[in-house]
């Protein structure tokens, strides 16, 4: 168990090391702090002096070690644009993103398991076919397009009038096809302050309504993947000898599906899915842009526009840390759930 933990932690450190090297390389090559600190009027000699003073002429390794040491204390320097420590800027935007990811994860878990299992148990039923059809359409729509369509339908509203307006049935049908819009689609709306930089959308109905469209559009990219994954795994498990043997034992089908098959299905889903949840953070860049959601994704994109290198680097490091933490947690959970992994680092 301890060896397993150490192995995972070592792996995590390795990944963080690589991310930090990349981040530092970006900072070293692209950011010129002198440019930001002093104006154009300062003569070159003075710049060179400042350069020396700040240690910018030191060898790469020395500079990297300084960067890494500061990074350990979450000190990534000052944002060019905001003029305050980048870590504070990131922390200010982080809760919005995390809440969005959390809401999305809940949506995915709520829908993927029942739908995936159902369409594996009854692969030929019309409903399963519908689910599979919708899911492949879902995969094929880029997340920002889903967001745009959702905005058009639920925020702006659609007026369809293919039927005669003056008849009762016609206007009823038109009403059925049209939407009024009005769903909030820009920003977070009113949030309730919790602690520190964390204000939440979950405390009020109003706040929750702002989450609806962004989280649905973010879920639209992952949900179909999960449904298809669960279905495929479950179909495979249902073909296995141990399921046949359970049938031959006279166990009820319900128990076979939900005790014998589901647990075996979920094992690979945990590994694959856990990683995917981590990558949701990356997709928030797209949804946040469409919905002007004030999270780190939007902040990152703005930072790119403004060439705010320290902020970009901080974002990379923090998001990298989030990825590493989720991956490590997923590995741990997998090890705990799967009896054939003895947490020694290798399957027995």
């Amino acid at each position: 168990m301890i060896a397993f933990l150490i192995k995972r932690l070592f792996h995590a450190f390795l990944v963080m090391f690589i991310i930090s090297v990349i981040s530092f390389a970006i900072q070293d090559n692209l950011g010129d702090p002198i440019q930001q600190m002093v104006g154009q009027s300062v003569p070159d000699s003075e710049r060179a002096e400042l350069r020396e003073e700040l240690g910018l002429n030191d060898p790469f390794m020395v500079q990297y070690l300084r960067f890494a040491k500061n990074a350990m204390h979450f000190d990534f320097g000052y944002s060019y644009f905001y003029g305050e420590p980048t870590i504070e800027v990131v922390l200010r935007h982080l809760p919005a993103t995390l809440e969005l990811v959390f809401a999305t994860t809940v949506l995915i878990m709520l829908f993927s398991v029942p739908i995936g299992v159902y369409s594996a148990i009854k692969p030929r039923s019309p409903l399963s076919r519908l689910f599979m059809g919708v899911s492949i359409v879902g995969i094929s729509i880029p997340v920002f397009l889903t967001a745009i369509v959702l905005i058009q339908i639920f925020a702006i509203g659609v007026q369809f009038t293919p039927f005669p307006v003056d008849t009762g049935w016609g206007s009823w049908l038109n009403g059925l096809l049209s939407t009024d819009g009005g769903m909030p689609a820009y920003g977070r709306g009113d949030v309730v302050h919790v602690v520190g930089t964390w204000s939440t959308n979950f405390a009020s109905l109003e706040g929750l309504s702002y989450l609806v469209l962004p989280s649905i559009s973010l879920a639209s990219i992952m949900l179909p993947l999960f449904i298809r994954l669960i279905r495929a795994e479950m179909l495979e498990v249902l073909q296995s000898d141990y399921v046949k043997f359970a049938k031959a034992k006279g166990i009820s089908m319900r128990r076979i599906y939900f005790v014998h098959a589901l647990k075996n299905t979920m094992l690979p889903v945990i590994t694959v899915g856990g990683v995917q949840i981590g990558t949701l953070v990356a997709y928030t860049i797209l949804t946040e842009t469409v919905f002007q959601w004030p999270g780190v994704g939007l902040m990152f994109l703005d930072a790119i526009e403004r060439s705010d290198i320290p902020l970009i680097v901080t974002y990379l490091m923090i998001v990298g840390l989030i990825f590493v933490i989720t991956n490590t947690l997923v590995d741990l959970i997998y090890g705990l759930v799967n009896p054939t992994v003895k947490l020694t680092g290798k399957p027995a």
Partner: protein, 353 residues
């Protein structure tokens, strides 16, 4: 690099005069496979401290085998006894951890792929699974043609085609079917094609790794007959790996019985079946289901084959042996000559058995 020998059509004919001399000699062969992958996976938590410990699968632990020219040497044992590993090391598919393999008096286990090339024509291999041993993307013609082109770059197209036709007929496959692909044939037919591929380069020595285990009874007989025909016609020497003692009894000249990576007993087939000496050989033979009821009473072995990760000390068989004593638990028995067979057993050496 050793010189490529000029081989006549059937080079063994001139050499068969020396029948009985040793063609393949294996001495002190060992093979272990590392069980744990990278450095981190070798870490163990022991007595409050992290320790690095490399675990190994000890597949082969000191095996001596001699294959005499013209004979069929059968290697039998249960799964995990290392019989296939021996075969693969002889063919250079695996590298031994220790020990040496000599072919025709020249050491071959440390040769590079290029240096091995001349031996590739002389030694060939037939595999267990006929469904996996033919490349699914190549037609039978291509499968047979490739080794010929590779080993005889100077041959004309007609020469190659003639040779392919000849081997196909000799294994009972209509040369007309050359354009077809492996999946169009049944298991027995595929095994014939695999045999044809091995025969095409005119080897003198063939390692057959469970060549009939995956086949049905009626097909097994066909393939065994084919192997015997080929041996007669081309004066082949076989190293025949199998778990089926009935086949050994019928087919083998001499038998090597293996258990957990060591040799228990070596004897002429007749001698072994008339008088199995080693307790494991005896148990193994009593376990074959026979058609008639007069077979020996089944000797029950307690326990199961231990894993080759933590090899038992002393005689590897002591944990299941009804005759084991303290010496067996500590001292590794060596092969000793007794009544026409070689046996590695303290009990026999001491006359307890």
């Amino acid at each position: 690099m050793s010189k490529v020998r000029q081989q006549p059509q059937y080079p063994q004919e001139s050499e068969s005069a020396q029948a009985g001399d040793t063609l393949l000699q294996v001495r002190g062969l060992e093979k272990r496979f590392p069980l744990s992958g990278d450095f981190l996976e070798q870490l163990r938590f022991e007595g409050g401290k992290l320790k690095r410990r490399q675990a190994f699968v000890h597949a082969i632990n000191g095996v001596d085998i001699d294959v005499k020219r013209g004979e069929t040497l059968c290697v039998v044992g249960e799964s995990g006894c290392g019989k296939s590993t021996v075969a693969r090391m002889v063919m250079g598919l695996l590298h031994p951890t220790a020990g040496e393999i000599r072919y025709d008096d020249r050491r071959i286990d440390h040769l590079s792929a290029r240096q091995l090339l001349p031996y590739r024509r002389r030694m060939q291999m037939i595999f267990q699974n006929p469904y996996a041993s033919l490349n699914p993307r190549m037609s039978i013609q291509q499968t047979l043609e490739e080794p010929l082109r590779f080993h005889h770059p100077d041959w004309s197209r007609q020469q190659i085609l003639d040779k392919i036709g000849e081997v196909m007929v000799s294994v009972g496959i209509d040369p007309e079917w050359g354009k077809r692909f492996g999946h169009e044939f049944s298991g027995g037919q595929r095994q014939r094609i695999a045999i044809a591929r091995a025969l095409a380069v005119e080897p003198e020595f063939i390692v057959a790794d469970e060549p009939i285990s995956a086949l049905d009874v009626s097909i097994q007989a066909q393939v065994l007959n084919l192997l015997m025909d080929a041996q007669e016609r081309h004066h082949l020497t076989y190293l025949f790996i199998t778990h089926d003692l009935a086949v050994v009894e019928h087919f083998g000249t001499r038998v090597v019985v293996m258990y957990l990576g060591r040799v228990c007993e070596v004897a002429e087939t007749r001698t072994l079946f008339d008088r199995p000496r080693h307790p494991y050989t005896q148990a193994l033979m009593s376990a074959i289901p026979r058609l008639d009821d007069d077979g020996p009473a089944h000797i029950k072995l307690p326990g199961e084959v231990p894993t080759p990760v933590n090899l038992p000390s002393g005689c590897v068989f002591h944990g299941r042996c009804p005759h084991a004593n303290d010496r067996c638990r500590h001292e590794i028995p060596q092969l000793i000559e007794t009544q026409g067979s070689q046996v590695a057993c303290h009990a026999i050496e001491e006359g307890r058995l």
